[in-house]
């Protein structure tokens, strides 16, 4: 799991591995993260997820070895 920019600073990691229950989705993962850092809850509307380099909805199921990215609104250019 990768976190970028403001989310990286908020969660305190740029890369982290994590075990999830069977049937976990991106929503499951986000709930875990918010349980640890309640002030992250307000970031949910602006956060986008990617699974293996492709944008993904929070209903997306996760599998062993997936690379998940937590991304705030982009600011490139």
């Amino acid at each position: 799991m990768l976190a970028f920019a403001r989310l990286r600073e908020l969660f305190g990691f740029s890369s982290q591995s994590r075990a999830l229950p069977n049937g976990a989705t991106l929503a499951t993962l986000w709930e875990q993260l918010v349980a640890e850092r309640p002030d992250a809850a307000a970031m949910r509307p602006s956060t986008r997820f990617a699974r293996n380099g492709v944008l993904a909805e929070e209903t997306t199921a996760l599998f062993d070895g997936d690379e998940i990215a937590l991304m705030p609104p982009v600011g490139g250019g």
């Binding site: 990768l2 970028f4 920019a5 403001r6 990286r8 602006s46 990617a50 380099g53 492709v54 990215a69 991304m71 705030p72 609104p73 982009v74 600011g75 490139g76 250019g77």
Partner: protein, 140 residues
């Protein structure tokens, strides 16, 4: 040439990457660090850019392919990451085509799409010592 780099962007290399003998026009765009940001009056003394490199590269490649198919123009895109000082270029784009109109259109398309879609983030560092992550505004 599609790249995310730490080193300064070389404009001549971008041009060389897209020009062929069939090209009559090469349009380039440089995004440079400026002294004030939109919507914030505090003077800026630098920016830090951070990318999700693998996804940034694939998204830039998709945009380049779109530009080629929509405009019949070859494009090169380089985004720089790390700490940039005032006046340094964060992004460089070159678009080459037989005719100038499509080269302009392709270059503008690429920077517009890059700002919307490519996973890169910037933190503005102000002269007063404060810093803020600044998202691109979505055009209406």
């Amino acid at each position: 040439m599609i790249a995310v780099v730490e080193a300064p962007i070389a404009l001549d290399a971008l041009v060389a990457a897209v020009r062929t003998d069939a090209c009559g026009a090469v349009v380039t765009f440089l995004g440079v660090v400026r002294a004030t940001s939109a919507g914030d009056e505090r003077p800026v003394d630098g920016l830090t850019y951070e990318a999700y490199p693998a996804m940034a590269l694939s998204e830039m490649q998709v945009i380049a392919t779109e530009a080629r198919s929509r405009f019949d123009a070859d494009v090169a895109i380089v985004h720089r990451t790390g700490a940039l000082a005032l006046g340094e270029a964060s992004v460089g784009i070159a678009a080459a085509s037989a005719h100038r109109g499509v080269a302009f259109d392709a270059c503008e398309y690429v920077i517009d799409q890059l700002k919307l879609r490519v996973p890169v983030w910037k933190k503005e560092h102000y002269v007063d010592g404060d810093a803020t992550w600044r998202a691109n505004t979505i055009a209406p």
